[in-house]
């Protein structure tokens, strides 16, 4: 099918650029660093931490996790449309029968797959832990659901930003700025204790979302938020691409 050919090309394009290897290496170092540090802390005599809480720290318990979740999608998507526009290849791409929707969906899927790939090495953490201690795999899986959900949302934001400009730098700054703004909005939940637990800030509080996921709680409202935000931005991306036909 046409879309799969495009997804394949986009995935290959990630690996043609040094960016892919830089991102793979740096996230791996960051994640392993956090894991080893927390493991060392947890294995000190007298520590209250368990294997489960170690993983909770790795997936959403430190700022490093959010740094990866916010910055990596911005970097992954910055090239996707901005470069096509700058180099003129958007013209060959959009005059093939794939269409704007096909292009956007294919690029998004490819970035989602690559994002998943970036987290793949972290599967070693629960794997090694489970060989040493008894580990409930439910919370591990739900942590991955949350991690992928956040990524899915921010990749949508990033792809949209990439459609707005021909400059990759502007795209990455816009995407990171927008994603970080959304993240901060959710953190307001922590500084406004007077509000009830069901306030809009708690709906956006990604940090507490990840705490829930880490405990094995999969709240569909969270998934709906991530999914609908992603779909909204993908729709907007298609609109931007179609509007270009009129502006020239």
């Amino acid at each position: 099918m046409i879309i799969f050919a495009q997804v394949r090309r986009e995935l290959l394009a990630f690996f043609y650029s040094p960016m892919a290897y830089v991102l793979l290496t740096s996230t791996m170092i960051l994640n392993s660093g956090v894991y080893l540090f927390i493991l060392a802390f947890a294995t000190e005599p007298g520590s209250q931490e368990t294997a489960a809480t170690v993983l909770q720290y790795v997936f959403g318990g430190t700022v490093f996790f959010y740094f990866i979740v916010l910055a990596v999608p911005a970097f992954l998507t910055m090239r996707l449309l901005a470069e096509e526009r700058a180099s003129g290849t958007l013209e060959t791409l959009l005059t093939a029968p794939i269409g704007e929707v096909g292009v956007v969906v294919a690029k998004y899927l490819a970035s989602l797959i690559f994002y998943g790939l970036l987290w793949l090495p972290t599967a070693l953490f629960p794997f090694f832990l489970s060989r040493q201690v008894d580990l409930d795999l439910g919370p591990v899986l739900s942590s991955y659901v949350g991690t992928m959900g956040l990524g899915a949302m921010f990749l949508g934001v990033g792809l949209f930003c990439s459609a707005l400009t021909r400059s990759q730098i502007i795209s990455v700054l816009l995407a990171f700025g927008a994603s970080f703004g959304l993240f901060l909005l959710g953190l307001l939940d922590f500084v406004t204790p007077s509000m009830s637990h069901d306030s809009w800030t708690s709906y956006l509080n990604l940090w507490s979302h990840m705490e829930d996921f880490g405990r094995g709680i999969v709240d569909t409202r969270r998934l709906v938020l991530y999914g609908s935000t992603a779909v909204f931005f993908l729709f907007a991306t298609v609109q931007v691409l179609q509007a270009r036909r009129w502006r020239g």
Binding site: I2, A5, Q6, R8, R9, L12, A13, Y16, S17, S87, G88, T89, L90, E91, T92, L94, T95, A96, P97, I98, G99, R245, W246, R247, G248
Partner: protein, 327 residues
């Protein structure tokens, strides 16, 4: 012959300018149509609308009976398009790129390898199949772009400035290829180089400031504009300039006599513009004889398409709006 491209009243306006201003034309099956015009005339804009990359402000474009606006995917399957400046992915290998392009153009997996091989062979890029596109010369890249346009075996080829930036040998190769391709499919190409259009195209549409100012085969265009402009003659006479020009001015049917300076004092050379179809050459001969001048040379200059082009695109300048936007 069957019409494969139908363009009616096509207009494209940008915020401040009108790039294409109500043009209409039809392209018949297996025609090689040349879009000729100075830079900024609206050639690329027209081709981009034809291929569905841009949308028209108003007007109808039908390709093989399908409206570009209503059925973009069908139209895009019918057309193989080579954009100006040949955008390619520099990091991919030639065969890999063409195979990917074939896939997104809907060539089934089973015949993809064959389609790519055929396109590479026709466009003479088979020898660089495994090279990285970014490392190829401009000529090769141009032909990779052509191979891309061809790879899904489209009924119609749209080529925007296919020879720009090539050296003379490469230009010849591309022209030969286009001429060959035109024998079995419809080709629309744009160019601002006249000999190219004259060499390759069966029909020429001249466009200036977003409007069509000439349409026909090269011979027809020469004839119709030749009538308006008159025929042009070179005359050489032995004798003084004054005497000779006096004699020539008396000849019936001559519109203008222009003296051409030469190094020999005894020879007077003129360029003459005369009414077409008058038998002017005979009368010049007679006039020279009666005034006692010896006629050394008399030749009629045939109008080139270049003359036609220069004539109508500069004439238009007097009564048209400011520049029509993008090339």
């Amino acid at each position: 012959m069957a019409t494969v491209i139908h363009v009616e009243n096509l207009t494209k306006r940008y915020a401040a300018t009108t790039a294409v201003d109500g043009i209409s034309f039809d392209v018949a099956k297996n025609e090689v149509l040349g879009f000729l015009g100075p830079n900024g005339a609206g050639k690329s804009t027209t081709l981009r609308i034809l291929t569905g990359f841009l949308s028209a402000s108003s007007g109808v474009v039908k390709v093989d009976g399908h409206d570009v606006f209503d059925e973009p995917a069908t139209v895009k399957r019918t057309i193989g398009y080579l954009p100006e400046n040949v955008p390619l992915y520099p990091e991919m290998r030639v065969s890999e790129y063409l195979s990917y392009r074939a896939a997104i153009k809907g060539v089934p997996r089973s015949s993809r390898r064959k389609s790519v091989a055929t396109a590479m062979e026709r466009c003479l890029v088979a020898d660089v199949a495994q090279r990285i596109i970014g490392q190829l010369s401009k000529g090769y890249r141009q032909r990779v772009g052509l191979a891309d346009a061809l790879v899904a075996d489209p009924k119609i080829l749209v080529l925007d400035e296919p020879t720009i930036g090539l050296d003379p040998n490469q230009i010849r190769q591309v022209r030969d290829l286009v001429r060959e391709l035109g024998q079995e499919r419809t080709v629309v190409l744009s160019s601002h180089i006249l000999p190219e259009v004259e060499a390759v195209c069966t029909r020429v549409v001249i466009i200036n400031k977003g409007r069509i100012v000439g349409d026909g085969n090269p011979a027809q265009l020469r004839a119709s504009f030749g009538d308006k402009q008159g025929i042009s003659l070179d005359v050489e006479l032995l004798g003084s300039q004054d005497k000779a020009s006096l004699a020539l001015q008396r000849v019936e049917g001559i519109r203008a006599v222009q003296f051409v300076r030469t190094e020999e004092d005894t020879v007077a050379r003129f360029t003459i513009t005369a009414e077409p179809g008058y038998g002017v050459r005979e009368r010049i001969f007679d006039a020279a004889a009666t005034s006692g001048l010896k006629l050394l040379g008399l030749s009629s200059r045939s109008m080139s398409l270049e003359d036609v082009f220069v004539h109508i695109t500069t004439e238009e300048v007097h009564h048209s709006e400011p520049d029509g936007g993008q090339a």
